[in-house]
Symmetry: C2
Subunit: 439 residues, 2 copies
């Protein structure tokens, strides 16, 4: 039996996908039953690293997604359009879809999965989060007996690379970003990475799977790493923390058990925490569930090889379904029937807790007048807002001001912000130099 | 639709399984379609932590595996018999099987999977390795596009707990084992754990999945941790290593690409290696593949909750198949058809490389006469056998002898052993105090 694959895009991930498909030696035998039927590209003349017969290439992507011979469409062109329209058209033509497109899924997931449910096809997306690291499939299948409490991770390699270098070299954000851009670790326009949007897309997808509901991307609180500086990294280090950009989704039973926390922000992570030692471009996703406790998945979160590993594994998973005649199952009334673990069947939207209700620890650095009563004034103000402090340290003098670093216990974010507003208004306080959350 | 589960065993894991099955809140909705039909126990009178209707309990386990109403048999009695016979009988009655039984699968895998293939049923075993950590399912499904090079891990919690405490406290094996037994972290008869047999069962299962062939358990080289002592842990620490019991399966392309290395032994692991920081009862499995690179799976490797998480997830995976009518698929000629990623279809046995052909680094500690020429003599002897040394350090005097610690580069084990035999025969060498492999 041969399963025909239509590939949309022949960039880094597309070429990596072709490399695997054409080299089945010592891989799963099912790979030998996959055939690349058509490959859609923007230009036929561009030099390619992969050596494909020219008659497979076409610039007519619409013809691929409607080609009656094709069983599985692989979308690796990225971006929002035409990716979205092509996936929808493929689904309408009853083709299963494999995609690496976190941006499109995070934004158009409802539309795409509703269309797939109606057409009775699968849309698999292991490559969308964590490159090749298995995390989507495990959340759907291996962990499905659990009541998930937390999904938390380092899901953006670029920012982790920058933060790791800032930590190691004591350098500041701008210079290391510039160097990372030159080395190819960061894009010319680094916004999606450094401002946290890529991580927000990914945590929205993970949260949707972990908590069985749809997520409105706009409700994910998103704070990037531009304001992280060498001073705070050095203080964090002294206090026993490293700073990581974490994406966090949490069902917090303390408040409303149906409400989720959903956020991306730089975070002080205790050095002994499993995520603290995840460095460079590596990604890791930590999942906490009942009764499994903590499990963590670690690996390279991007790159042609790891991403293509996930893409081709998804293709094989669909081929395995087709092999046993389960590609298209129809019920007595004619409606399609999909595997409830593999398909996305969420109907409702998750409720996202307002940020001010978040319970977390904070780190804050203040520049103040250098006189004895300042720490007392800060402490009193925090106390008035029920913000309990774990430590207050006057660390020295900077720019003619005394520098004070505060770490709180778990507090309500709203209370902390109110205290901060009052502190900002104090004449003895020159500035709030930085505020970061602490895991 | 309701899927009927017959549970064999109501010990720790069985009770954990019942706890999840009876508490579907915030878990996957498919859980609500599972029904506990019968539970097989040894004694009806034993007090139980789970509150099950008495009419579900029976001591007639044979009746459960042949009960025509039951769809899925869950084997959590452990041990070899009657577990093996009951699984085979269940399979003969066309029931799908979920098991946590690494010992039975590692020994009778061929018999069990052949029977399952013939009957057209699935045998799932996520709980057999790494407790709840998803690793079996990811190897079968999420990583199936890869050419796996290495599967390596800390897969036994008891020995990792003992080694972690030896490392932290500087204590010796026997005293910490005794304490671990009192605290319930080690069995009264600790052989299966501390002699590496449990880890050998698990790496045999992982290797079979990773490399697509059957494994003869007797061919797994197995060395436990009884001979690991405080002295070597301290030296390893100084040299930048921690000692871990690793289970390793490797396809070594340097020699015969079809040959596997398969072994369990205490290993000096560089502190920066991802497995070095896996402590206490935690397990971790590191997989290296082409093109994914390294991925690691981390979590609690045992205990009622984590193991039951894997058991119930497997049950749900089978229920999902049944739901879409894929529980039993028959081909035109009447033979059953199984999903090629979920079923075990290996026909051949993997070839295991002889230990003497293993290429690895070694750590060795010698007690010798304290005179200047000894290091030279050791060095010359190693050199004669093509054993290249990374470092030779005379560390001090112990029991009236000079103590010399040697770390080699990558060498052939056979050559190293020959050199060692010659060294043992030297009159200047009092003893070879310890030999350990280095990652």
């Amino acid at each position: 039996m041969a399963f025909k694959v239509g590939l949309l895009g022949l960039g880094t991930v597309g070429a990596g996908t072709v490399d695997i498909l054409r080299d089945p030696f010592q891989r799963h035998p099912l790979l030998q039953e996959l055939v690349i039927h058509k490959v859609g590209v923007r230009s036929l003349d561009k030099p390619r690293s992969v050596d494909l017969p020219l008659n497979l290439l076409t610039t007519d992507l619409d013809a691929i997604v409607s080609d009656p011979e094709i069983d599985i469409i692989v979308e690796v062109i990225g971006g929002l359009e035409p990716a979205r329209s092509l996936m929808l058209k493929a689904i309408a033509h009853k083709k299963h879809v494999v995609t690496a497109n976190k941006a499109a899924i995070a934004r158009f997931g409802e539309e795409i999965f509703s269309a797939a449910a109606e057409a009775g096809v699968y849309v698999l997306l292991e490559a969308a989060v964590g490159g090749g690291i298995p995390v989507i499939e495990p959340l759907k299948q291996s962990l499905c007996a659990n009541r998930i409490r937390t999904v938390m991770g380092i899901v953006n390699g670029t920012t982790n690379y920058i933060l790791t270098r800032m930590q190691a070299e004591g350098g500041d954000f701008a210079e290391i970003l510039a160097d990372a851009q030159q080395l190819g670790y960061a894009e010319a326009d680094p916004t999606a990475d450094v401002d946290g949007f890529d991580a927000a897309d990914k945590i929205a997808i993970l949260a949707s799977l972990a908590f069985g509901g749809r997520i409105k991307l706009a409700e994910v609180y998103c704070e990037g790493i531009r304001q992280v500086n060498a001073t705070d990294i050095a203080y964090a280090e002294k206090l026993g923390f490293v700073i990581k950009l974490l994406a966090i989704a949490k069902r917090d039973s303390a408040t409303d058990p149906e409400q989720l926390q959903l956020r991306v922000h730089p975070t002080l992570v205790p050095k002994a925490h499993p995520l603290a030692s995840v460095n460079d471009v590596y990604n890791a996703i930590l999942i906490e569930g009942d009764p499994i406790g903590q499990v963590m998945f670690f690996g390279r979160g991007a790159g042609a090889g790891p991403t293509a590993s996930a893409v081709v594994s998804d293709i094989l998973n669909i081929a395995a379904l087709l092999k046993v005649g389960r590609g298209q199952v129809t019920q007595a009334d004619g409606t399609p029937l999909l595997d409830p673990l593999l398909a996305c069947s969420h109907q409702h939207y998750c409720t996202i807790a307002p940020l001010e209700d978040l319970i977390t620890r904070f780190y804050a650095r203040f520049l103040t007048q250098d006189y004895p009563g300042v720490i007392g004034k800060l402490g009193t103000c925090f106390g008035n807002h029920e913000v309990s402090l774990e430590s207050v340290v006057q660390t020295g003098i900077r720019d003619g001001s005394a520098e004070i670093v505060v770490v709180t216990h778990d507090v309500r974010e709203g209370n902390f912000r109110q205290a901060l507003d009052e502190i900002k208004a104090m004449t003895t306080v020159a500035s709030v130099a930085s505020v970061l959350r602490v895991l």
